[in-house]
């Protein structure tokens, strides 16, 4: 008899979602689905607002990465004003983008994923959260919290506040940087670097500890999409897009963000509010790709800073030579390498005297009716696409969010985990639930409504027959 298993809600991710597993008559996993059951409507209610308001409005989409939406929106605005922004503004926007990486990646690794990795997937769920981590590994947790704080502090020094700053605007940024702010931030670099290196060393131990599990942790072939600089270096703020396949072959390169809709399409499913983007030339099945840290490290040729580049070479070895690294578990490693790069690059940028120039905003009126902005948000490439009228009033908004681009891959990852851990018996074990959730957490999905970082939400699992009647229920 066909059955459905439901995990609702999924905890320790940003937002609301649930997982269902569909079993066939023999009790084998037929399909598994990651449902996003929140709807927000930002694209619709931004219509009729003014272009200049968009960074401030869209930064409100998310409390985790407001700076990514802020900067991406400002870049779309630059396109519509059709002007070059001052050098200082460009560098300051780069700084805040990297700060966003540091704080979000630290949150993902230390607050959300470490409880699984450090305490074990099968440890007591009541204590498998940040508080349990603090009790078991106080120094590790404290350093992680301080690393995230460092990223937040950069955003605060530049933007005046940690969350939802309206600081970046079409044409540049609102406030120049100060020498006092620079000195305060530079003082935090050594500790941030040491913490990141400690986190990488800890993750290496986790590779050994979870060696049996890792091979089935969302390990499958997809393409990878990310931004690269003109010379092939890892990029985070500008550059063009590159798509590589699971063997490391370049499928498309030099894609300008404004042309993304010529290369990518989206499909919708009735069971989720999250759309499913794919690479259009290959169709929705074969066009599956991943974005974010794993993908970025797969598509770039090198990282411009030495410590991060040394780690990238070790990361590449995980994929066995020239091919890409296709195991979603290694998002964790890629994420930490990106933090290492961000901290090294932040030091370079902070020491650059050009950031202190007081000319930080160019002004113009509407010179184009359409603009696309793109940056690499912590979870992957983020697009804002606006159309305006002659007066700058928004006519349409399309935002392509990183988590959506990982949607097909997340579904495939939980299908693999369900098949691996649910064999023959339709029993809902703790271990199964934990692994499915941990599998989703590899992608660090941001469903942008609220953060359940302390894991206090109840977990409800339902096992239903094909006719919809309830067979079993388990809650914790």
């Amino acid at each position: 008899m066909a059955k459905t298993l439901t995990i609702d809600p999924v905890t320790r991710i940003e937002g609301h979602s649930k997982i269902t597993i569909l079993l066939d008559d023999a009790g084998n996993v037929e399909d598994a689905r990651f449902h996003v059951n929140e709807f927000r409507g930002f694209e619709k209610f931004c219509e009729g607002r003014l272009l200049w308001e968009m960074p401030g409005i869209t930064s409100r989409i998310c409390g985790i990465c407001p700076a990514s939406h802020l900067v991406t929106s400002a870049k779309a605005g630059d396109e519509i004003l059709a002007i070059g922004i001052p050098e200082a503004a460009d560098k300051l926007r780069r700084i805040i983008t990297l700060a966003q990486w540091v704080q979000s990646h630290a949150l993902s690794f230390f607050h959300l994923s470490s409880p699984d990795l450090m305490l074990g997937f099968d440890s007591d769920p009541a204590a498998r959260n940040l508080f349990g981590l603090i009790a078991a590994h106080p120094e590790f947790a404290r350093r992680g919290i301080r690393l995230r704080k460092f990223g937040q502090e950069i955003i605060e020094v530049l933007g005046g506040r940690r969350i939802h700053t309206p600081w970046a605007v079409p044409g540049g940024v609102r406030e120049p940087f100060t020498a006092a702010g620079r000195d305060r931030l530079l003082a935090g670099i050594p500790e941030a670097l040491a913490t990141t290196q400690m986190a990488i060393a800890t993750l290496m131990l986790m590779f050994e500890r979870h060696a049996k599990e890792i091979p089935a942790f969302g390990n499958f072939d997809t393409m990878h999409l990310g931004s690269v600089r003109a010379d092939g270096a890892l990029e985070y703020y500008g550059g063009t897009l590159r798509l590589r396949d699971a063997d490391g072959n370049t499928i498309a390169d030099g894609i300008e963000p404004r042309d993304f809709d010529k290369h990518f399409a989206e499909k919708t499913e009735p069971w989720s509010y999250l759309k499913f983007p794919y690479y259009a030339p290959l169709g929705p099945e074969k066009g599956i790709y991943r974005v974010g840290p794993l993908a970025r490290l797969n598509v770039c040729d090198f990282i411009e800073t030495p410590l991060a580049e040394a780690e990238r070479l070790k990361f590449k070895a995980l994929g066995g030579g020239a091919g890409a690294v296709n195991n979603s578990f290694h998002y964790h490693y890629a994420r930490l390498i990106e933090v290492l790069f961000a901290v090294e690059k932040l030091e370079q940028l902070l020491r650059d005297p050009a950031t202190l120039d007081e000319h930080v905003r160019s002004k113009a009126s509407i010179n184009r009716h359409e603009g696309v902005g793109a940056t690499e948000a912590p979870r992957g490439v983020l697009f804002h696409h606006y159309k305006v009228d002659d007066d700058g009033v928004i006519q349409s908004v399309n935002m392509l969010i990183a988590t959506a681009q990982n949607n097909l891959a997340m579904n495939r990852a939980i299908r693999q985990l369900a098949k691996h851990h649910l064999t023959g018996v339709a029993e809902i074990t703790e271990g199964l639930l934990n692994r499915l959730e941990a599998g989703i957490r590899c992608f660090d999905p941001c469903l942008s409504c609220s953060t359940h970082a302390i894991g206090q939400m109840p977990l409800l699992v339902e096992l239903t027959r094909a006719d919809g009647s309830l067979l079993a229920r388990r809650a914790r």
Partner: protein, 246 residues
Amino acid sequence: MAIVTLTIDGLAVSGRDDETLLSIARQHGVEIPTLCHLDGLTDVGACRLCLLEVEGSTRLLPACTAKPVEGMVVHTSTPKLQRYRRMIIEMLASEGNHHCAVCVSHEHCELQRLAGSVGLQSVRVPYLYPDKKLDATHPLFVMDHNRCVLCTRCVRVCHEVEGAHTWDVGFRGIKSEIVAGLRVPWGDVESCTSCGKCVSVCPTGALFAKGATVAAMEKRTAFVKYLVTARRSKEWVGDILEEGDE
């Protein structure tokens, strides 16, 4: 003109009988909240925030238009008045689309400041979420009807000080709306001199400079009294240079 004596909040005060109670109270350091009033413009008593209780009268009087009478005993901040003022701010909040967090006037808005001063924490009446538009057809300025509280300062400053009479109030009751010309896009109105006085006097983010971003709009209003005084008395004095005027 005669001098009258009266009591405001227990304080014995005197004033001219052609002055308003608001003016006399402020001269004696008694603060009364206002929204539609602006020094230099004709008062219209529209917002009702400055209502007063006068002993012996069952009617509440707006301080900005009421005149003093010999022996009058006035109260400016009774529990009843405080309750009314809070209700007025709640109604204003529920009637428009005031999203402070993403507004150009955030942190510099008179409505927001008033909401704080009357202790407004939540709104007890349902929000109406009216479907209002913004008019960005003017090359320099924007009118966002979502944030308009119909104080008519813009109408008055344009008519009385600039002399252009570009703005008016259209429609009736809850459908009332500030209109440009004979309700045409602002950018098409030939009478508008683009002086920006209406933008400066607007207490909220309804009128703002094009290109302004969240919380970036700070307004100056003291110039109105300065200009009016200069025209009337040929005296170019006033507090126009003082920052932080209201």
